[in-house]
Amino acid sequence: MNTGIQKRKTIDTTLKVLLVLFVFTVPLWVTSPTTLQILIFLFLYAYLTTTWNLVGGFAGVLPLGHSAYVGIGAYTSTVLFISYGVSPWIGMWAGGLIAAIVGIIIGIPTLKLRGAYFALSTMAFGEGVRVLVENTMQLGPFNINGPRGICVPLIPGNNIAAFQFLSKVPYYYIILVMLCVVLFITWYISRIRPGYYLAAGGEEPEAAQSLGVNVAKYKVWAMGLSCFLTALGGTFLAQLALYFYPKQILGLDFSFELAFIALIGGRGTIAGPVVGALILRPVSELTRIYLSAVLPGLHLVIFGLVLILVMLYQPKGLVGPLEKLYNWFLNKVSGTEKEVRT
């Protein structure tokens, strides 16, 4: 084998290993809880966007109501914890299951329709859930406290069973592992048969159908899986913030932000959501911190401009050009530029 290509491979692997090591050792040398909190939120958004991407990216539709499933996860585990003392670790699976069932029920009629119907229906469904929760104080035996939201009861000290920790470090590792797991799931799905069907149905539904692929069925399953995983993220969010209310956790803005992160990063790619979160989260946090005091709303104007520019000039998302840049860098360093070209 050519030495240049070998060298390129070594550098590539080394960089990737270093990145993984870096990410997993961050809490060892970052002690500021604020920085950790920002990173935790970054990973949480990357996680939620990756789960969104299962249906929004691979199935080629545009769900705009995923905050509903985040909310279902958060509310289910918290309500079970308050009412029966069920550990959120168990409650999160219940929330995931409910979210998956709801997602499948919503998906069955809407996923057969054209994309526009799906986008609008999911959005209306998300808003409907928010209105329902805001107007309900008592849901059966459970107190969900309407528009005021719920607090997760505090348990003193570090309590693994109650999913509550004094330091940010455990949260950091939990969300990091969760993110790795969903990334693995997306990677795995993208290389098995149902994943191919899904991608085919997302790109060319008519062509896939005429080849005998039951497009709607695979989309519905993707929707169920996506909603399930999204709800798990909802439980994490509830345990991290310990307080949440409908306008925040079930809001339209939240649903839209997830979609935007995926679209700007690169929908339908595995790395896209993570790249999107890495780029957009700091942009939105920083512009909000530094610009909202000067002119409220300016940060969202900038956000809107970024959206438009990315869609006009990189409609497939930013992951493509970044990958090119990385390859260019690898070639430059290992001197394989000419060989790869020929």
């Binding site: 119907y117 609008l120 409907g128 107007n135 104007v301």
Partner: protein, 294 residues
């Protein structure tokens, strides 16, 4: 009984301007097959324009139409020509490019937040010559501003239908909405037709803005309320269908007004969502949607 009839009247009046707002959205979808997420923001722009006209000149709110209609038409025309056309050109083979949703959402964020920066977040209301006036028919009350809204809806819908049916440009719009490739082959400038359709959609949003000014608050995010309502209405009625938009608007208006006799108005909002989901299960293409559009 009287209460019910009065509630039905109110529902019809409210539903008419809902329907008009949805009409703008459905025309854009019918022709270009994209959803304009900035529709509510265009409505907000129309409201602010009408608000300042009335505030500064003291004219009748409908006089603001002289400014709002051409302004919004040109704005919509330019929006489609500058921002959406490049995407449509790049994705000729895609039937419904989702990128357009994102671009129009970007426009939504920009417009809403520019309004927030310029006008502030407070709710504004302006006293016009028809605000609070009523018209009695027997024992039933018709608020004048809303009654004018109903008439405006009828006139606008009639004009739009006439325009689409009998003018040359209208015919080319319909041709392009049926089959854009065939229309192009017949010598129709596809993108000019799209610009006009988008302009009409924006113009209708502006008209709704003028209709709303005598009796509705105006604030930077007022469009979001109408966005969500319009989306429900167009899906209820069938995306792209003009009678569907009007009927859907009236249905939503009637649900809100009749159910609010029995429950708090926030719950009626929920009923609207329930009806919406029920229709979606029973008749997914909407009440007036065509099956080929599924």
């Amino acid at each position: 009984m009287d209460i019910i009839i009065q509630a039905l009247i109110n529902g019809l009046l409210t539903g008419s301007y809902y329907g008009l707002a949805a009409l703008g959205l459905t025309i854009v979808f019918g022709v270009i097959k994209v959803i304009n997420f900035a529709h509510g923001s265009l409505l907000m722009v129309g409201m602010f324009a009408a608000y300042w006209m009335v505030r500064l000149t003291g004219w009748h709110p409908y006089a603001a139409l002289i400014v709002v209609v051409p302004l919004l038409f040109l704005f919509g025309y330019a929006l489609q020509g500058i921002l959406i056309k490049p995407i449509l050109e790049g994705q000729r083979d895609v039937r419904e490019p989702t990128e357009v949703i994102i671009v129009t959402t970007g426009v939504w964020y920009i417009l809403d937040n520019l309004a927030l920066m310029i006008f502030g977040a407070e709710y504004r209301v302006v006293q016009t010559s028809i605000s609070g006036q009523i018209f009695m028919l027997g024992d039933y009350i018709f608020p004048k501003a809303q009654l004018y809204g109903l008439i405006t809806t009828a006139v606008t819908a009639g004009l739009v239908l006439w325009f689409l049916k009998y003018t040359r440009t209208g015919m080319s719009i319909r041709a392009a909405s049926l089959d854009r490739d065939a229309a192009s082959l017949m010598g129709i400038n596809q993108y000019r037709v799209y610009n006009i359709a988008f302009g009409i959609g924006a113009m209708i949003a502006g008209i709704v803005g003028c209709v709303l000014i005598p009796f509705y608050y105006v604030f930077p995010t007022v469009g979001v309320i109408f966005d969500v309502k319009c989306f429900i209405i167009v899906v209820l009625g069938g995306l792209g269908s003009i009678p569907g938009a009007l009927a859907g608007g009236v249905i939503v208006g009637l649900i809100e007004s009749t159910f609010s006799q029995y429950m708090t108005s926030t719950w009626t909002e929920l009923i609207v969502y329930v009806v919406f989901l029920a229709v979606l299960f029973i008749r997914p293409a909407g009440l007036f949607g065509e099956k080929r559009d599924w």
